[in-house]
Amino acid sequence: MAQPISLIAHDLGCQRGGRTLFQGLSFALGAGQALLVSGPNGAGKTTLLRLIAGLLPWQAGRLSLEGADEEGALPESCAYVGHLNGIKAAQSVRENLAFTADFLGGGRVGAGRESVESALAAFGLGSLAHLPAGLLSAGQKRKLALSRLVVAPRPIWLLDEPSVSLDASAVKALDAAIGKHLKEGGLAMVASHTPLKVRFAGTLVLGEGRLG
């Protein structure tokens, strides 16, 4: 990380389909901190993460990235892993990752090959690299989606139920990856119903609108 950044939300409010999902939501997340987003189904966890990723508009409040080089760079500082894995079945595992590296890597020379191999190793996909991604099991596809985080490093990780369909060892790899990311000064917001062994700085409970 070039310099420590922090993500600050002030009085954030969002409506979807005429229903207020949350309002008056404020939090601050500094370098090396992770926030657990929790709340019942439909409380707006996914909406909040997609909103930070710049995929949804919000109706009230302010969301800012402090310490970034330029204004409005928030979506480009985020890596989002949502419910959909974003995997091309017709491409091999390695091709899927290589495209992510080339596309999100932003033209860094030499970003490709090396980071693809280390991402494959991070989630134990090395032996599957040549297989068409369409042949992977649900858990393996999830691992491939998560290894995107490693292949194109971005300071803010937004993870929506990252551990769905992962086995025990893959959850351990996920814990390790998040831990390493935080140690390097990254930020993470995780919405998860299953316990993760990550040292969270706090829990954002949606549906009640308070920071616990």
């Binding site: 979506p75 985020c78 974003g86 091309k88 017709a90 080339d102 596309f103 033209g107 995107r148």
Partner: protein, 222 residues
């Protein structure tokens, strides 16, 4: 530069690999043109007169077959989220995907047209102009199709609605495309003015269509 190239090459590769995209389009073109003379009877003069029009109309229909693929697959599997968060602005993403559609649909169709022209007794001196006009006009076809594809994202049976939305927008391309070929065969006017109009249409859609498509994509992702 590198992200743009990566996206373009990936889309072209996927169109080859996912099967059906290029094959179906070319096959549809072949069949539509091949059955037209069967319906009209073996009047060679008539066929030769309408050849350019039939080739153009069939080309428009054939390229619509694969138009919903421009964004649909990426929308469905979640890749669109990643593309929206990448270093490229969304209109540029839309432009690159339209360009990939042109390379995998417009160019093969334009190159197949002279062969199908034989079935319609297309005058041989019209062939260079036909190919030229199609290569100049099909970028507009792909880029305008991208608007329809992004507007119909997430709808079931989107293909039919897409055709309804987009076909009326193809009228200028059709008129100037056919005018170029008939001017080249029957004269007396020069084929250059309608040809240059085709180029202008393509250049205008190259600039304007991605902006409209990106706006529709933003709405579709909500």
């Amino acid at each position: 530069m590198r992200p743009a190239l990566a996206l373009l090459l990936r889309d072209i590769k996927l169109a080859w690999r996912e099967g059906g995209a290029i094959g179906t389009t070319l096959g549809f073109y072949l069949v539509v043109v091949a059955i037209t003379p069967l319906g009209l009877g073996p009047d060679l003069n008539l066929l030769s007169r309408i050849a350019a029009g039939v080739l153009w109309v069939a080309l428009l229909l054939a390229s619509l077959l694969s138009a919903d693929r421009i964004f649909h697959n990426d929308y469905e599997d979640g890749t669109l989220d990643m593309l929206a968060m990448g270093p490229l602005p969304l209109p540029l993403v839309a432009a690159l995907k339209s360009l990939a559609h042109w390379i995998t649909t417009g160019v093969p169709l334009a190159l197949l047209a002279p062969i199908l022209g034989l079935l319609l007794n297309l005058p041989i001196n019209a062939v260079p102009w036909l190919v030229l006009a199609m290569l100049a006009g099909t970028p507009s076809v792909s880029f305008v199709a991208a608007i329809g594809a992004s507007l119909t994202l997430g709808l079931r049976r989107s293909g039919v609605l897409l055709a309804l939305l987009v076909l009326p927008l193809y009228v200028p391309v059709l008129i100037f495309g056919v005018a170029t070929v008939s001017a080249a065969t029957t004269g007396p006017a020069s084929p250059w003015p309608p040809f240059l109009m085709l180029c202008a249409l393509s250049l205008a859609s190259l600039v304007l269509a991605p902006i409209a498509a990106a706006a529709a994509l933003r709405t579709a992702m909500r």
